[in-house]
């Protein structure tokens, strides 16, 4: 039986084309790779190569024919030992549509929408054993302790980055790690973010548990391709085969007087990406417990710290097994008049604002998101259901922000609980200026939070 030559699709979008020219004629012998025809698409003229060998028995679509549909039979090829003058076409066949999708356990209608898995029940913060002492630690010490504890437990864990070893950390977060773990596991890199983020990601794919420190997340823009395209997507693209258990960590957000290129909050950028976990803690206890979870989890994590908080002291449980669950917000102050949803350095601003609001008889309920992806929607909506008013405080730009996301969640799922519009209290929508007075004007502050909380309370 003759081989049918069909009008090929030559690009992802082609549906039909012009058979511009036949370069072979009936009776010609062709072998694989010979150019048989020229086909014009809307974009280009392409050559149509023979895939099989044989004798061109019949041309069914003459040259110059427009609008030949992809898949239409354009010629017949007689195979070896077949009489080219007397070929017989195979019964006309269109490319078969794909068979029905793989069977699921429960039968369902063909056009049923995919079932979106329910979020897991919310885990809660661990109960501390009775009598656990609290110890005062700075945020940087808590982060260091988290890394050191996990490195003691699991020799696959290592830390790499600029100045993390001999210099003891550009912001001293890795202080002492080189002495304890040696240069095999605490590795100074050259100033090549793209390269070492890629090497870390590859090492995670190869079975290790890297912690990649960026001196600041501003420099991670050089490496964002590996964070998103390599680390974030590979598990999905590989059908769940290829894991990437890596932590990208470092300071994020505005520091002080360092200008536009060094003052930016990347929380919304990374939180937009399915496949990443994004954590942005405020307190030292949360930072420690969440960094330990981040190192232990099998998923790639972006862990956003804040330089201005590194030196602040907090109470931290005095145990080497304090692990805070990823994906769960924390109520840091309870109140029933207005909800303030925030994260990272915004929590400190919200706490100060809450004290001022309390003086005026407004009790704020402060929700620290802690994890930006997956976001604890339930905690946001629960707070809203009690207060019916909400503002979102974010040290970052307003447009396409975490604040915008919270507003959308309240519109879609908390509409009936709203007694006022949800308001965003963020930095100004400008690159960060250097001048002290302008910088101050650009940043979110306590007064702006108080004003917004009063506005949604109609006071």
């Amino acid at each position: 039986m003759a081989i049918e030559l069909k009008m090929p699709a030559l690009s992802p979008t082609m549906e039909e084309g012009t058979l511009a020219k036949w370069l072979v004629k009936e009776g010609d012998t062709v072998s694989a790779g010979d150019i048989m025809a020229e086909i014009e698409t809307d974009k280009a003229t392409m050559e149509f190569e023979a895939v099989d060998e044989g004798v061109l028995a019949k041309i069914l679509v003459p040259e110059g024919t427009d609008e030949v549909a992809v898949g239409a039979v354009i010629a017949l090829l007689a195979e070896e030992g077949e009489d080219a003058d007397n070929v017989e076409a195979a019964p006309a066949s269109e490319p078969a549509p794909a068979p029905a999708p793989a069977e699921s356990a429960e039968p369902e209608a063909d056009d049923a929408p995919p079932v979106k898995p329910e979020p897991a029940p919310r885990a809660s913060d661990p109960d501390l054993p009775e009598g656990t002492a609290m110890v005062t630690l700075t945020l940087r010490e808590a982060l260091r302790d988290a890394m050191a504890e996990e490195m003691r437990d699991d020799d696959r864990v290592f830390v790499m980055g600029e100045e993390v070893a001999q210099y003891q950390g550009a912001y001293k977060v890795t202080q002492g790690l080189l002495d304890e773990f040696g240069d095999k596991r605490v590795i100074d890199t050259p100033i090549t973010e793209y390269g070492f983020a890629g090497i870390g990601t590859g090492a995670a794919m190869g079975g290790l548990r890297p912690i990649v420190e960026f001196m600041t997340f501003n420099f991670a823009m050089q490496a964002i391709d590996h964070i998103i395209n390599s680390a974030g997507k590979t598990n999905y693209m590989s059908g769940g085969q290829m894991r990437c258990p890596i932590v990208f960590r470092g300071p994020n957000g505005a520091a002080s007087r360092v200008g536009a290129q060094h003052s930016q909050n990347y929380g919304p950028w990374y939180a937009a990406v399915p496949g990443l976990v994004v954590i942005a803690p405020y307190s030292a206890a949360d930072a420690k417990g969440l960094l330990k979870s981040a190192i232990r989890t099998t998923d790639p994590v972006v862990f956003l710290e804040n330089e201005l908080l590194y030196g602040q002291s907090f109470e931290v449980p005095d145990t080497d097994d304090y692990v805070v669950p990823i994906g769960k917000a924390r109520t840091v102050r309870s109140g029933n008049d207005v909800s303030i949803v925030t994260y990272s350095i915004g929590v400190g601003i919200a706490l100060e604002a809450a004290d001022k609001l309390a003086e005026e008889g407004i009790e704020a309920d402060i929700v620290d998101l802690r994890t930006l992806r997956p976001l604890d929607k339930a905690a946001v909506l629960e707070s809203l259901s009690r207060t019916n008013r909400m503002i979102v405080v974010e040290e970052g730009w307003p447009t396409c922000s975490i604040s915008s996301e919270i507003v959308a969640i309240c519109m879609e799922e908390g509409f009936d609980d709203l007694d006022a519009p949800v308001m965003r209290v963020t930095n100004e929508d400008v690159p960060m200026p250097y001048a002290a007075n302008l910088e101050k004007l650009a940043l979110v502050n306590v007064d702006k939070v108080v004003a917004a909380a009063k506005a949604v309370s109609y006071r």
Partner: protein
């Protein structure tokens, strides 16, 4: 320190009379720099047994027929998106990967990845089914032509971003060294990727940390439509590692035995702890960059001339003849390969698409 004696690491010069050690060579000197550090030996063409020759023939033919079939299925609309074929470059993957220790070495490449997986002995059925986006595909239909993986076989993709696999491969090599498992990573990239900045960041760290990695530049002469000499200031790509002290070898990538010979030298170098090595394989792709490339940047005569003069499969047929393999035996192999590819295509066309619920699986591994 201009008059300091030569570094003790410096190997003795072959012709010490040429220059006085006290006087640094003038910049104008056109004499090639004497190597001041150890270099790998020039590789010999590999002497293959008859069985090995037959196996290379089989693998190269499988890649060629598989890719031709993939092109056909693309034409029929059964394969979508981008589809980059390996036709013409078969000797590279087969020659290199035949030298690996599959129990410990790893491989990573870019998006022109079908050939590397076939050379690894992965089942053509699940590769073709991935191309058609079916549940039985090697990545359950969620990766497609450019994103395929087999962690079980230590094949780490299949990466769609030009050059990304070079630092990622260095990371795999880092893991080999960290664990001390004796493995080597083979990281392929093209002449186009050879101009990406991240490649040189990876070179620097790979040599600095003496990572066990073979960087393989598959120079098929065209980065999509731009020829090497239109895009590369140093178009002798094997020299691209020199400023990082990574030695480079330029190899005829159209001869599977020369490729295999180079693999032996490279593996010896890396396994003995000397750090990375760079191989430039001069090769050629017969088809367009991807299926939708009309390839107007080169003449039909150029392509035809390579096919006629340097086709890797025709070359190995001559070797087989010389080794006493009959035309009938080769035909029998051809027939067997045709059947395997036809079976893969049937499987890829007839197996079901992924279940809709798969949309939401494998985004994250754990539940939060």
């Amino acid at each position: 320190m201009a008059k300091a004696p030569a570094s003790p690491k410096r190997a003795p010069r072959k012709s010490p009379a040429k220059k006085s050690p006290a006087k640094p060579a003038a910049r104008k000197s056109a004499a090639p720099a004497a190597p001041n550090r150890e270099r790998p030996a020039e590789p010999d063409r590999y002497t293959a047994s008859k069985e090995e020759l037959l196996e290379y023939y089989r693998q190269m033919l499988l890649i060629r027929r598989f890719e031709e079939k993939a092109g056909q299925l693309y034409g029929l609309g059964l394969i979508g998106g981008f589809c980059h074929l390996y036709i013409g470059q078969e000797a590279v993957a087969v020659g290199l990967q035949s030298a690996l220790d599959n129990d410990k070495d790893s491989v990573i490449t870019g998006y022109r990845d079908h050939g590397h997986m076939l050379a690894y002995g992965l089942d053509p059925k699940v590769i073709m089914a991935e191309l058609t986006g079916r549940a039985a595909g090697i990545a359950q239909g969620k990766g497609g032509s450019m994103h395929m993986f087999s962690v079980e076989k230590r094949f780490y993709g299949g990466h769609g971003i030009v050059g990304a696999q070079v630092p990622l491969g260095s990371g795999l090599a880092f893991a080999h060294k960290y664990r001390g498992d004796g493995g080597v990573c083979l990281a392929y990239f093209g002449d186009g990727a050879a101009n990406q900045g991240q490649v040189y960041e990876a070179f620097n760290m790979a040599e600095l940390w003496k990572l066990p990695i073979i960087f393989v530049i598959e120079n098929n002469q065209y980065a999509m439509g731009t020829s090497v000499n239109r895009s590369s200031a140093e178009d002798q790509l094997y020299r691209r590692g020199e400023s990082f002290r990574i030695p480079g070898l330029q190899i005829n990538g159209m001869d599977v035995l020369e490729v295999r010979g180079a693999a032996e030298v490279a593996l010896d170098w890396v396994r003995s702890g000397k750090g990375p090595i760079l191989l430039e394989l001069k090769t050629y792709r017969y088809r367009g960059h991807s299926m939708s490339d009309p390839a107007k940047y080169r003449s039909r005569e150029e392509v035809q001339s390579v096919r006629e003069k340097s086709d890797p499969i025709e070359a190995i047929k001559k070797e087989l003849e010389a080794a006493g393999v009959s035309a009938e035996d080769m035909k029998a192999t051809d027939k067997e390969i045709k059947a395997i590819v036809a079976e893969a295509a049937d499987f890829a066309e007839s197996s079901p698409e992924p279940h809709p619920d798969e949309l939401y699986t494998d985004i994250l591994v754990e539940q939060y």
